[in-house]
């Protein structure tokens, strides 16, 4: 039988066999996430609000999804401790990994430690729907490997300067979602929100941008809806 299709005598081929007794293997790859939890990476510069967003998503989604978190702390257990203290998730559902002083390496070039942590969580909590992997704070070029994260969120904040979206870099331009955080203090730090959002859309084309303040909306409803749309 020709590999490219199945002729059946009337001048055309079907891409797949409609014969219910056909036994050849399925031509289509299984969905890459079949049989495992969906993995969302949250990256962005130091202090932009990655941990606060992670906590907000745990609050928003913890009751409806079987959820776990991997943190990539820089120097202390600060991020993991914050999440544990915040009481948003059973502490056993939070794993912290070390990054050998290179947070971007751990999420992009050599994802072994993070994959191990995800697999430990999947063994401990069978049937996990979602694992959030929070990167250590890094620079504008630090993005997740597609081998680790199925989708990724890049978080910047207004206090980092309203030129950040314009500066671009893979985080701003290629992340599946860009979040501009702390918009409640934009006026105080002299950040022009119109400039930030229009630059962000110009740099990202069709990719979505969400502006938010976790002071005004502590459960990050817009980002939580975006996450729901993926699952």
């Amino acid at each position: 039988m020709p590999a490219e299709g199945h002729g059946h005598g009337h001048g055309h081929v079907h891409p797949v066999s409609f014969d219910p007794t056909a036994t050849e293997p399925d031509h289509y790859d299984a969905a890459p996430t079949a049989g495992r939890a969906y993995r969302i990476g949250i990256g962005g510069p130091v202090g932009s609000g990655k941990t606060a967003l992670t906590a907000a998503l745990c609050r928003a989604l913890g009751d409806e999804l079987n959820l776990a978190v991997v943190t990539n702390d820089i120097y202390t257990t600060e991020d993991a401790d914050f999440l544990r203290r915040a009481g948003v998730l059973d502490p056993a559902r939070i794993e912290a990994v070390q990054t050998g002083a290179c947070p971007h390496t751990a999420i992009r070039d050599d994802i072994t430690a993070n994959l191990d942590a995800v697999e430990r969580l999947e063994e401990k909590f069978p049937g996990l729907d979602l694992v959030i992997i929070e990167s250590g704070g890094d620079n504008l070029t630090a993005v997740f490997s597609r081998g680790l994260a199925d989708s990724q969120i890049f978080v910047v904040d207004v206090a980092g300067g309203d030129k950040v979206p314009r500066k671009g870099g893979p985080g701003v331009t290629t992340a599946d979602l860009l979040v501009i955080n702390k918009i409640d203090i934009a006026r105080l730090v002299g950040a022009d929100m119109d400039v930030m959002t229009s630059d962000a859309h110009r740099m990202r084309g069709e990719l979505p941008v969400i502006t938010q303040s976790l002071v005004d909306t502590p459960d990050a409803p817009a980002v939580a809806d975006w996450v729901r749309s993926l699952l």
Binding site: I74, Y75, V97, G100, A106, D110, I111, T112, A113
Partner: protein
């Protein structure tokens, strides 16, 4: 040297090695290594003890991958020569990472058999097996293992102490890896129980101390 050994020894190899400092983080925390002058002593000591042991088992494993061998026995003999639990865990974490990448790069029934017997293999054993599977020699495997035993701590020293990378690189270049690897390759076919067992009680104790500190305050490196 076989390409497989170069790939496995490359710091760009995605096997999870970059999060291990081989005890360097602990000696830096204790101010036992503070400058590039202190590094040759630490690295040559590590090469002659932990490095030599890793080279011996990598060579033996490369031999076993071709000649046939008992993976469980090799595993338990290396376990017996690694008294620190923290070091055994660091070795198995890197072994699992190396197996994950190695399964895709060098798929083989020999590797499947190794992982069926020892699902979380020690790093030198899976590394040696991969070199043997790819067609490299026990000496090649020993060289990759010995080099990794010092390149990891050397890189950690650059990151933790901000040392001059050229000076650190020169320290590594002056280490006598060839002698260690020749000794390791010479005994690659011996019975696993008869293999040498060089050890460093100081490194063992530092590894344990580092693991305990982890519980109080996470460090940058897993070991």
């Amino acid at each position: 040297m076989d390409l497989s050994a170069l790939i496995l020894a490359d710091s760009r190899f995605p096997g999870g090695g970059h999060v291990h400092s081989g005890g360097l983080e602990e000696v830096v925390a204790r101010k036992l290594v503070t400058s590039v002058r202190d590094l040759p002593g630490f690295l040559s000591g590590r090469l002659r003890t932990a490095g030599h042991l890793a080279a011996v088992f990598a060579a033996a494993s490369a031999h076993a991958a071709v000649a046939g061998g008992n993976w469980s026995r090799l595993d338990s003999e290396l376990d017996a020569r690694t008294p620190s639990l923290a070091q055994r865990e660091a070795s198995r974490a890197q072994g699992r990472g190396t197996a994950r990448a190695g399964r895709i790069a060098w798929p083989s029934p020999v590797l499947d058999a190794l992982l069926a017997e020892t699902p979380r293999p020690h790093h030198p054993i899976v590394l040696g097996a991969l070199v043997g599977i790819a067609g490299g020699s026990p000496y090649d495997a020993a060289m990759a293992a010995a080099y990794l035993s010092v390149s990891g701590p050397a890189s950690a020293a650059v990151r933790l102490l901000g040392l001059d990378p050229f000076a650190v690189n020169a320290v590594v270049a002056r280490l006598d890896l060839a002698a260690v690897c020749a000794e390791a390759a010479a005994v690659a076919g011996d019975d696993p129980a008869a293999l040498p067992s060089p050890g460093s009680p100081a490194l063992d104790l530092f590894a344990e101390a580092h693991a305990r500190h982890h519980e109080e305050e996470v460090r940058l490196f897993a070991s």
